[in-house]
Symmetry: D2
Subunit: 112 residues, 4 copies
């Protein structure tokens, strides 16, 4: 089985065993995804990138896993195919950020 | 090639073509991941879950793709194996949320 | 003394007593503000608005206080006058959201 | 009139003129507060603190105003007194972060 389906299956089993599907509407899943991304970010609060990674890489692994988990639950509830979503978005990004304009520049596409 | 490696390769090519690796320290990647999660959540602002999905599923697909993209970039920079991170976190969650206590309950593990 | 100056003074004393000014650059303050806003939001996770307020109003008070605290610290570090900032922004909002277009509508100004 | 009441009155007039009270339940206000904090943070994405402030101080003023606006709307809907909330929280922080332990240390209270 491919990886994304495999992870999704694992997560859904965990979820359904606990009868939590009733809470998992897309709005609350997007909210939870945002909260987990904040928990990952919190590990960098008041620190340089290097200090934080050195101190908390183990916790980062767990928080990133939570982010991926809610991303896959969101995709599952809304019927989004993650693989094709990323591929299509990268094609859009290719147009928004043409190499000749974006090379080495840290600005948003509308400021290039 | 497996899916996660395949997506990561696609994303890194896009990134390296633009010489953006210089900006991609883990702290700014975690920050960006949080911002993209907020952009997904913004599509639900002032709306019910159903209203939002009906109106903006296409945009949700793009924003979810951005979340996945930064999650994979973060994993790549910090050397986290996404597949094993999620599997290990699900095992921890199994202990934090035992079925008999967590069944149908929308509380955090420390309030079960 | 007016309220905003009074609160700012209280917060700065707490901060300076701990020699934390060294960490309080605007980027980390904005990051912390975002984290505190997430902690407030977390109290609503998986719940309706009413359920959450009934359960956690006391915690909401604390988290809102943290949000205000970082907002005032950010304003202090960047030299922003909070009172005039809000007044000026409300005048801009008046133009972005004319009453006749925005009345009863839950869309962003660019979709009105 | 004191400042916080004055700002709240201004914001409520803007809101009520547009008949938006119907959308302003605490959960969506907390969600919006989090989104506005992210928009402020976005101005620092891929930049050092100094680069960002130099480039976008005007935008920061607007985004901070939005944060304050939602904080005051949240306080208004839930009946929280902002002034006393901050004062009480600072007293709690005094206990959580005793000067002798917290002086010059960038760790959370549970790691002091």
């Amino acid at each position: 089985m491919n990886e994304i389906k495999q992870l999704t299956k694992l997560i859904l089993k965990f979820r359904n065993d606990r009868d939590w599907q009733q809470f998992h509407n897309p709005k609350d899943l997007a909210l939870s995804l945002s909260l987990e991304a904040s928990e990952l970010l919190e590990l960098f609060q008041w620190k340089t990138s290097e200090e934080a990674v050195e101190k908390d890489l183990g916790k980062m692994k767990d928080e990133l896993a939570d982010v991926i988990t809610y991303a896959l639950l969101f995709a599952n509830e809304t019927g989004i195919d993650v693989l094709s979503a990323v591929k299509q978005k990268m094609m859009k990004n290719d147009e928004k950020y043409p190499v000749e304009k974006a090379f080495g520049v840290n600005e948003k596409y509308n400021e290039l």
